[in-house]
């Protein structure tokens, strides 16, 4: 088994694991972190598939912007919820 294949298999397993956990882990903040990790793993995958353009775009847009959007939404919702609790 070559080094490349071993790395690919590891990457494949991590992709599936992080994707699965992002959907199934009970805490939402962890899920979002796992999702961003998934995006970074996708970036590595694109590099392994000889697609540097997609790797760049995935890092910037897929993991970066989407991650930022999700985290920002999460933060806003948390703040909103805390506000609502405080009112009670």
């Amino acid at each position: 088994m070559s080094l490349g294949l071993g790395f690919d298999l590891l990457l494949a397993a991590s992709l599936l694991w992080s994707g699965w956990r992002a959907l199934s882990t009970p805490r939402l903040d962890r899920a979002l972190v796992l999702f961003i990790a998934f995006g970074l793993l996708m970036t590595l995958t694109w590099a392994r598939l000889a697609a540097p353009d997609i790797a760049l775009a995935e890092a910037a847009i897929g993991a970066g912007l989407t991650g930022a959007l999700l985290l920002d939404a999460f933060g806003a919702l948390q703040a909103k919820r805390a506000e609502a609790e405080a009112k009670k």
Partner: protein, 222 residues
């Protein structure tokens, strides 16, 4: 309730799909020689950029349309009532604004590099625009750039400008060359760079807008 149906069906589909994919014979057609053979007249040296902005430039045109459309849709959904609290991060920390002041210009330089590199190496308008957008978001997070509300006239023209430029070039080429987005080989490089420059700016604004308009909408109603 749906679970017992969906999960077995999904697993079954995945297994059949993977078995079928492993079993797949080589395709009848190979576009790679075609891509390579026409590279010289495409105006760029990087195959992916050639596909994106020349061979299949029409896809890219519509895709920028989708992005602009999504931004308009977000504006249509968001609350239009201007709220007063628009500065996001409290600037009690002195380090963050400094970081923003140093990093943002560097990111602009990186964006320009990515844009110019795109003709011959990985990179191009999307990546450059994304870096510009990231710079804007960073400035916002460090408290130097307030969240955007309903955009003013100049910002709206900036958001739509890259797309309008792309459509305009396409339309002129349709009138002059007879086909939509058919670049004359001698000028293809210049025209593509022109389109990419416009797109970088507008994409930067749109992608930043996706974040900043949403970020502004704290959902305060009533």
């Amino acid at each position: 309730m749906k679970r017992p149906v969906v999960i077995p069906a999904a697993l079954l589909f995945a297994v059949v799909l993977i078995l079928a994919m492993v079993d797949l014979a080589p395709p009848a057609l190979d576009l790679r020689p075609l891509v390579a053979a026409n590279l010289a007249s495409s105006g760029v040296a990087h195959p992916v950029t050639a596909v994106l902005l020349n061979y299949r430039a029409y896809d890219t045109l519509l895709e920028i349309g989708v992005l602009l459309l999504a931004l308009v849709a977000i504006l249509a959904v968001s609350e239009s009532v201007p709220t007063t609290s628009s500065t996001s991060a409290t600037s009690s920390d002195l380090l963050l604004p400094m970081l923003g002041r140093i990093a943002a210009p560097v990111m602009v330089v990186v964006a320009v590099y990515l844009l110019s590199a795109g003709t011959s190496a990985p990179g191009g308008a999307f990546q450059a625009g994304a870096v510009l957008a990231a710079a804007a978001v960073l400035l916002h997070l460090t408290g130097l750039l307030p969240g955007w509300r309903q955009p003013g006239v100049s910002l709206r023209w900036g958001l739509a400008g890259g797309f309008l430029l792309f459509v305009g070039v396409g339309a002129i080429l349709l009138l002059v060359e007879g086909d939509l987005l058919r670049y004359p080989p001698d000028h293809a490089g210049v025209l593509i760079f022109l389109i990419e420059s416009g797109l970088t700016l507008s994409l930067g604004l749109i992608l930043a807008g996706l974040f900043l308009f949403l970020s502004h909408d704290k959902g305060d109603v009533g």
